[in-house]
């Protein structure tokens, strides 16, 4: 009953999506009001069927209906209710269903928001979105069917992946990641529509930018949540290992960040249209590549590709999307004629270009490092991994260069700057730059790249803060307002700009924190017997005892370590080693004491409760906490930049009656 209902909803979603895609493309080519009405209706229908299918799956999970194959695969009567609920995205088939829900929501919102705007573009955009939606519906209807009927259902199931229950970050990370990944479908559709129409007007770049910014925020948070999870759970003391799963989420983030900046040049100068559209399309393709590389996007499933048709199906879709994109760009990119010229002299425009090239270079560097092992294995049959040294060596200079560019760009004016302007823009921030570097030297930073990062971090910090304060100062002078009054007014009037600089502040903080934490840490590996102590830096650690803790789904061995700093006791930490029922290798759970300046990180190598001995990895990681704070600042800045343009968008609808294609470029 439930399986059949679920399958019917998936089939209806598939019908709505494929029908809507056809109607969308047909209406784009030959616009009619009726076609556009039906394209919208089918878009909403797709969203509704996907949402209902997810509701049915949640009902099956919560009611332990083991006749549904996905529930039989991940469900269990013995897990808490919240685990049953989030089991929806704990395994491959369910996560694709959840993917469909996220996609439906995005498509419905984007369609609704633009229901009476951009009439030339929107049918094509809906056509592209629903074509992508049709693929994922097909995946759910066939290869990844989560609603298959189990002929003689069992009374109980094995429960979801144990890692899901190990840490709350594993529960919230996937929804963020999917919201980031899936959301890139919307700008992809808009970019394809611009190519198909043969125009990227001033009016259309705004929805493109906004719908790029929203998933960008989610992706930013998701990437860092993944790193945070690795740091809190995996126990090797770091947050980023450049493994393919991580790279898969980082690659589209790089191109999306580049596109957000080049979109600004499109908006202000009418240049780099083809380039921006290419970056947006590349971003979407990278999300599909990432999905393919990581199977479900998050979990390395125990079931490999060879045993399911999901891998080959995603690969077929990736191939189709790649070919479609290359053909579309080849045939149509020249129709996006620029409305101005790109300033290449010393100017903010030119720095934007450099920034974009750096991001694309970064993308290719990471992509090459990620697929290179596959090349070697295919060619020589040898398994190898590129590993951190390559990525670190390549990414550190690019990261420092980006930090520098982030300061120079905003300091320079739009359009060609005179020598005098350049000097007065670039010389004052050198003061803060030097101050940061000197503080670094005083705190015994000796790594030259970290010192450079501090130097440019100081430079960029001064530029960013003075750019945030510039309109405030202007208002105080012109209107005689007090600081708070002027600040509030300036923020309200230039909120997009304000948000962008908050993102910059977060980004520079993140880069500096990454630089410091990865070069200034200290560590020690030690074997202790009960009662013995060790010291690292200002910390002294005493191994008080070891005990076994039994929980329903896992057995843990836990060590109690009493900590004191500079001779003053500051509490106890309990690193543990967990053996999950469904896991082959024991999983260590590190204990971390976080403070604003540094983290004390304890991770167990080996523990013997009976022999009362423990082998520990002890690390002192400076500034790691600032990476999480910096990410929150970036996400906040993104939201600040997004909200007014969205509110503005709905206001301008009311203001811009009647709805005629009133773009300033006209239709020439």
């Amino acid at each position: 009953m439930i399986p059949a209902l679920g399958r019917t909803l998936i089939l209806l979603a598939l019908l709505a999506a494929s029908g809507g895609a056809l109607v969308g493309f047909a209406t784009g080519a030959r616009p009619t009001a009726l076609g556009w009405l039906w394209a919208r209706r089918l878009a909403y229908a797709f969203a509704a069927f996907m949402a209902l299918a997810n509701v049915v799956m949640e009902y099956a999970l919560l009611s332990h209906d083991f006749s549904v194959s996905y529930v039989a695969h991940v469900g269990s009567r013995s897990v808490p209710t919240w685990v049953s609920m989030v089991s929806l995205w704990s395994s491959l088939e369910g996560s694709i269903l959840f993917w469909g829900l996220v996609m439906g929501v995005y498509v419905a919102v984007a369609t609704w928001q633009n229901r009476d705007k951009h009439p030339e573009y929107m049918p094509y955009a809906v056509g592209v979105w629903l074509a992508c939606g049709a693929f994922f519906s097909f995946l759910l209807a066939g290869p990844a069917q989560p609603f298959a009927t189990v002929p003689s259902p069992a009374m109980d199931g094995p429960g979801p992946n144990a890692l899901l229950q190990n840490h709350y970050l594993m529960v919230i990370h996937p929804p963020f990641l999917y919201s980031g990944y899936v959301g890139m479908t919307i700008p992809f559709g808009l970019a394809c529509a611009a190519l198909l129409v043969g125009r990227l007007g001033h009016d259309f770049i705004r929805p493109l930018r906004n719908f790029l910014l929203l998933p960008w925020i989610f992706l930013t948070v998701a990437i860092v949540l993944g790193g945070w999870w690795a740091y809190e759970v995996l126990g090797w003391g770091g947050y980023w290992a450049w493994d393919p799963v991580e790279n898969a989420s980082f690659l589209p983030w790089l191109t999306a960040t580049a596109a957000l900046h080049s979109a600004l040049l499109v908006e202000r100068k009418g240049v780099l249209k083809g380039w921006t559209v290419t970056l947006v399309i590349g971003t979407y393709l990278l999300t599909i590549l990432g999905t393919f590389m990581t199977r479900s996007g998050v979990f390395n499933s125990v079931h490999s590709f060879t045993q399911s048709a999901i891998g080959p199906t995603i690969l077929l879709f990736l191939a189709a999307a790649l070919i479609f994109s290359v053909v579309l760009l080849t045939l149509r990119v020249d129709t996006l004629v620029p409305d101005g010229t790109l300033e290449t002299g010393p100017s903010r425009d030119a720095v934007f270009l450099v920034q974009n090239l750096l991001f694309v270079l970064f993308t290719f560097t990471v992509l090459l490092g990620t697929v290179f092992p596959l090349v070697v294995e295919a060619a020589r049959g040898v398994q190898m991994s590129v590993g951190r040294p390559y990525f670190d060596r390549m990414s550190v200079p690019i990261g420092v260069a980006l930090l520098f560019v982030m300061g120079v760009g905003p300091a320079l004016p739009w359009g060609r700057a005179t020598g005098q302007q350049v000097r007065s823009a670039l010389l004052p921030p050198l003061l803060t730059a030097a101050a940061f570097a000197i503080v670094g030297l005083a705190l015994e930073v000796r790594n030259s790249w970290t010192l450079l990062a501090l130097f440019f971090g100081g430079f960029t910090a001064q530029v960013t803060i003075s750019e945030i304060l510039l309109p405030v100062r202007q208002r105080m002078r012109a209107h005689g307002e007090g600081f708070l009054e002027a600040f509030g007014q300036a923020r309200r009037r230039g909120q997009r700009r304000f948000g962008a600089y908050i993102v910059h502040a977060g980004a520079l903080l993140a880069i500096v924190a990454i630089g410091v934490s990865s070069t200034m840490g200290t560590s020690k590996e030690i074997q202790l017997r009960q009662g013995e102590s060790t010291t690292l830096g200002a910390y002294a650690l005493t191994f008080v005892n070891a005990e076994r803790v039994s929980e329903p789904h896992r057995q843990s061995a836990r060590a109690r370590m009493d900590i004191s700093k500079n001779g003053r006791p500051i509490g106890s930490l309990y690193p543990s080693m967990n053996q999950y029922e469904s896991q082959r290798e024991p999983i260590g759970t590190p204990a971390v004491r976080t403070s604003l300046t540094e983290d004390l990180y304890l991770s167990i190598h080996n523990i013997d409760v009976d022999a009362r001995s423990v082998g520990l990895l002890v690390l002192v990681n400076p500034m790691v906490g600032w990476i999480w704070i910096a990410t929150a600042i970036m996400a906040l800045g993104g939201l600040v930049a997004l909200v007014p343009s969205w509110r503005g968008a709905s206001v301008s609808v009311a203001a811009r009656e009647p709805i005629v294609a009133a773009s300033p470029e006209g239709s020439g």
């Binding site: 209406t27 784009g28 030959r30 616009p31 009619t32 009001a33 076609g35 556009w36 009405l37 919208r40 229901r115 009476d116 009439p119 030339e120 049918p123 129409v197 043969g198 125009r199 083809g274 590549l289 393919f292 390395n300 125990v302 490999s304 590709f305 060879t306 045993q307 891998g311 080959p312 690969l315 990736l318 191939a319 790649l322 070919i323 994109s325 290359v326 760009l329 080849t330 045939l331 149509r332 990119v333 020249d334 129709t335 697929v371 596959l374 090349v375 294995e377 295919a378 040898v382 398994q383 029922e581 469904s582 896991q583 082959r584 290798e585 709805i659 005629v660 294609a661 239709s667 020439g668």
Partner: protein
């Protein structure tokens, strides 16, 4: 508002092909797709151990419950499947039925279990309860597991008739994979 008529047809410009975009696109897309297609059949569970292609380490171990030791040497001439397992290992339960059935089906191959860091009594109870169609051997001091480079259980080695290791598989086996790998071990026989 929902039925606002859509104004005049979009101006469709004549398409001009941009050969540079095409060349750049193909230069990225073709190698990328080629690599992905070539790697599609790859199974991350079949791990390339340095031992693959080399003669399997020799051993002579007593079966669980006592009896004459069985040596690898004595099984020359037919494919041998060596499964390292333990009663404390959950994935080993999962694959036990598949292995037992496969040992009955593929009579041309000799299946052996090697018990990894476990007690003989527990092992005996496990086998009595779940049944077995092939001998499991006690590796009391773990020397055989070390010689095979076993990292954790279950791990399964496929050895051809000449005593060379053809494949190493990490994680629980299913029927299909066992059949495929036995076929490979047979193909490698002299």
């Amino acid at each position: 508002m929902a039925t606002t008529p859509v104004p005049g047809a979009a101006p469709v410009r004549a398409s001009r092909m941009n050969p540079w975009v095409l060349a750049a696109g193909l230069a990225v897309v073709v190698p990328l797709l080629a690599i992905l297609v070539l790697n599609l059949g790859r199974d991350p569970h079949s791990v390339r151990s340095p031992l693959i292609g080399r003669p399997a380490p020799a051993f002579s171990l007593p079966p669980v419950g006592g009896g004459a030791p069985i040596s690898l040497e004595s099984l020359r001439g037919r494919p041998v499947v060596i499964n390292f397992w333990a009663t404390w290992c959950v994935p080993c339960f999962e694959e036990h039925a598949a292995l037992t059935a496969a040992a009955r089906t593929f009579r041309e191959a000799q299946f052996l279990g090697v018990v990894y860091e476990d007690e003989e009594l527990k092992t005996q109870a496990f086998l009595a309860e779940r049944g077995s169609s092939y001998p499991s051997l006690m590796d009391a001091d773990g020397r055989t597991a070390i010689a095979f480079g076993v990292f954790g259980v279950p791990e399964t080695f496929f050895i051809d008739g000449s005593g060379r290791i053809v494949e190493k598989y990490v994680g629980p086996m299913d029927r299909r994979t066992i059949a495929e790998l036995i076929a490979r071990a047979k193909g490698g026989a002299p």
